[in-house]
């Protein structure tokens, strides 16, 4: 893959650039949250249900307890991005490990690992995530672990397919003849060549992870002492007849963030395979 033309293809894709811009803003907001809003976003700071643009101190208004919506939103970005990245990273790591071992060794190991993968694909992911969080106890970290444990099957299948085709190649035979160990061949020889499609799948997993996190925290299974977008939406449920913006605003933040991640992912896919991109 030609490095420069890859960058060129990505940077001429308007959707991808828009996604990258939004995503950068969300990341910046998450990183700068303690500077922008130093206090606890769950503190009551104003009159309850101040509408957006009504009071300049609270540009997006306050919720039913009088907590600053904008502060919650910015701090919520931390939880969403943390869970999205950690869960996707964990899922890809597990997937690579399972898929590489299955594809490389084949035989009964492959058979056993594929049955395991099939099992995880059969149990509805969200229900399994609920069970895992129920066992580990609610919290941001257990939510991230639970999402990773229900999202690794895609990367595992892709990695296995790549390994199945790559292990037949001559460079693998060559390093086997040189007497390299299995670990060296798997991680140093084959994996670097198999990585591109796995990384492209990564953006899809991050997007899905952020959506699952929002649903779990909406159901109250994340850390109750930390602001999350899902929790803010749940908080707005009690007042949505009179003040629907309390639920609407954090949901819109989820939508924008996931959309940005998807757009960047699409841009990466199209730039990586210019021929199979959109016609």
């Amino acid at each position: 893959m030609n490095q420069r033309s890859f960058r060129e293809r990505f940077s001429t894709n308007n959707g991808a650039l828009a996604g990258l811009t939004i995503l950068s803003l969300v990341v910046l907001a998450a990183l700068a949250a303690p500077l922008l809003f130093p206090g606890d976003p769950l503190d009551i700071v104003g009159r309850p249900l101040t509408e957006p643009f009504e009071d300049w101190r609270f540009p997006l208004g306050t919720d039913r307890l009088g907590r600053d919506m904008l502060a919650g939103l910015v701090h919520g970005a931390r939880a969403s991005l943390f869970v999205g990245l950690v869960a996707a990273g964990g899922a890809i790591l597990i997937g690579i490990l399972v898929g590489a071992v299955a594809g490389y060794f084949g035989g009964w190991i492959d058979e056993a690992l594929m049955r395991l993968t099939e099992t995880f694909q059969t149990v509805p992911g969200f229900i399994l995530a609920l069970a895992l969080v129920a066992v580990m106890g609610p919290g941001v970290v257990s939510v991230a672990i639970a999402i990773a444990l229900v999202s690794w099957t895609g990367p595992a299948r892709i990695t296995r397919a790549e390994f199945l085709s790559l292990k037949q190649r001559e460079f693998v035979s060559a390093s086997r003849v040189l007497g390299q160990g299995h670990g060296h061949i798997i991680f140093r020889e084959i994996l670097p060549n198999a990585l591109a499609p796995i990384i492209v799948l990564g953006s899809v997993i991050v997007a899905a992870a952020i959506l699952i996190e929002s649903a779990l925290s909406y159901l109250g299974l994340s850390d109750p002492n930390r602001a999350t977008w899902g929790q803010m939406i749940a908080g707005g449920r009690a007042v949505f007849r009179s003040a629907w913006y309390v639920s609407a605003i954090p949901g819109f933040a989820i939508l924008l963030t996931v959309l940005a991640v998807s757009l960047v992912g699409e841009g990466l896919t199209d730039a990586a395979n210019p021929r199979t991109g959109r016609r």
Binding site: P124, F126, Y218, I233, R237, V258, L259, S262
Partner: protein
């Protein structure tokens, strides 16, 4: 369709034979998966702090120590772990999923009681997603590269990024609170004593918003798949032949391309079913629909792990059953496929 009743009967016999082979093979594949689900469930039960008896005692507000020990012995919880696993599997084989501590009823009957509501939501969502997805996908593929196509694709990306539960809340605000067109929650009007078609209509009205919130993401997915499938088939040789014969664009699109492009989507129906079932947890919670999704949520909140794992097991069985049906349907629709 058929030339003679004789050939019809032969085809039916052929299909039945293939279906039996397919059924056997799929069941043989499903057994290890079911076993692994059960072993996984058992592991989670063991990993969770406290066991079933602790949950009972907590629910009963404490208990006599000797009685607790007797209960443990009765449940086999004083046995070695491997014996406990055997007991657990043996119970599961007979579909004995134990008692729900939270609701004081057998887990199986709780699930079966709630299942019809979830199945109704699933069916309406699949129908909606499949129908609208195919329509939009065909429309986009026939205008590939034009502004309408780009608009449909962009809309699809936005829908894909929308959390279903939030969409549900927003739809409630618009259609139930502001416009008062549709009911706010539940599966039917309580104590309405409606019967026959009136009751069906009432349930249908209750299903509109939950279906839309659950299925819209899948509309986007099917739309993209359908578009890609249509474009692929459009490029094949037999379409060129059809064009050369002078067939109209409409006829080519609907009679030649669509049937071929729609086949792979049938498999997707099965693959997506698990995700859809998972999505019903949060949608049923938003709309207060008494289905197994909401039951799972109640189980988590009420710390009833046994009930939750019962739902995990039953939902896995449901996913296996649906995939089996989809496979049979697929074999029926596409005779070229030898039960791959």
């Amino acid at each position: 369709m058929s030339a003679s009743p004789d050939r019809d009967a032969r085809a039916a016999g052929f299909f039945a034979g293939r279906a039996a082979v397919l059924l056997r093979r799929r069941l043989a594949q499903a057994l290890p998966v079911i076993l692994l689900v059960l072993v996984g469930n058992f592991l989670l039960l063991k990993l969770a702090p406290g066991d079933v008896i602790d949950a009972y005692v907590a629910a009963a507000g404490g208990g006599d120590r000797a009685f607790v020990a007797q209960l443990r012995a009765e449940y086999g919880l004083d046995q070695p772990v491997i014996v406990q696993l055997g007991l657990y599997l043996w119970k599961a084989v007979r579909l004995d999923l134990g008692q729900s501590v939270l609701l004081g009823q057998p887990v199986l009957s709780l699930i079966l009681e709630r299942l019809p509501n979830t199945l109704m939501l699933m069916m309406s969502s699949i129908g909606f997603a499949f129908g609208l997805g195919v329509l939009l996908g065909v429309a986009a593929a026939r205008r590939a590269g034009r502004p309408e196509d780009t608009a449909i694709i962009t809309l699809g990306l936005i829908v894909y990024a929308t959390p279903g539960f939030w969409l549900g809340l927003m739809l409630i605000v618009i259609f139930s609170v502001r416009l008062a067109w549709l009911p706010l929650s539940g599966i039917e009007t309580i104590a309405s004593s409606l019967t026959g078609w009136e009751r069906v209509l009432d349930i249908a009205r209750h299903l509109v918003l939950p279906t839309a919130s659950l299925a819209l993401v899948y509309v986007a997915i099917y739309m993209r798949l359908m578009r890609a499938g249509m474009l692929e088939v459009f490029g094949l040789d037999f379409i060129r032949t059809a064009r050369a014969k002078g067939l109209s664009d409409d006829r080519i699109a609907y009679r030649h391309v669509l049937p071929n492009a729609i086949l792979p989507m049938v498999t997707m129906l099965g693959l997506q079913f698990g995700t859809l079932l998972g999505g019903s947890v949060v949608i049923e919670s938003v709309f207060s629909i008494p289905g197994i999704g909401r039951l799972a949520y109640e189980a988590v909140v009420g710390r009833d792990l046994n009930l939750l794992l019962g739902i995990v097991f039953m939902s896995a069985l449901l996913v296996i059953a649906v995939n089996l049906i989809v496979d049979l349907l697929y074999a029926h629709l596409d005779p070229r496929i030898e039960s791959a």
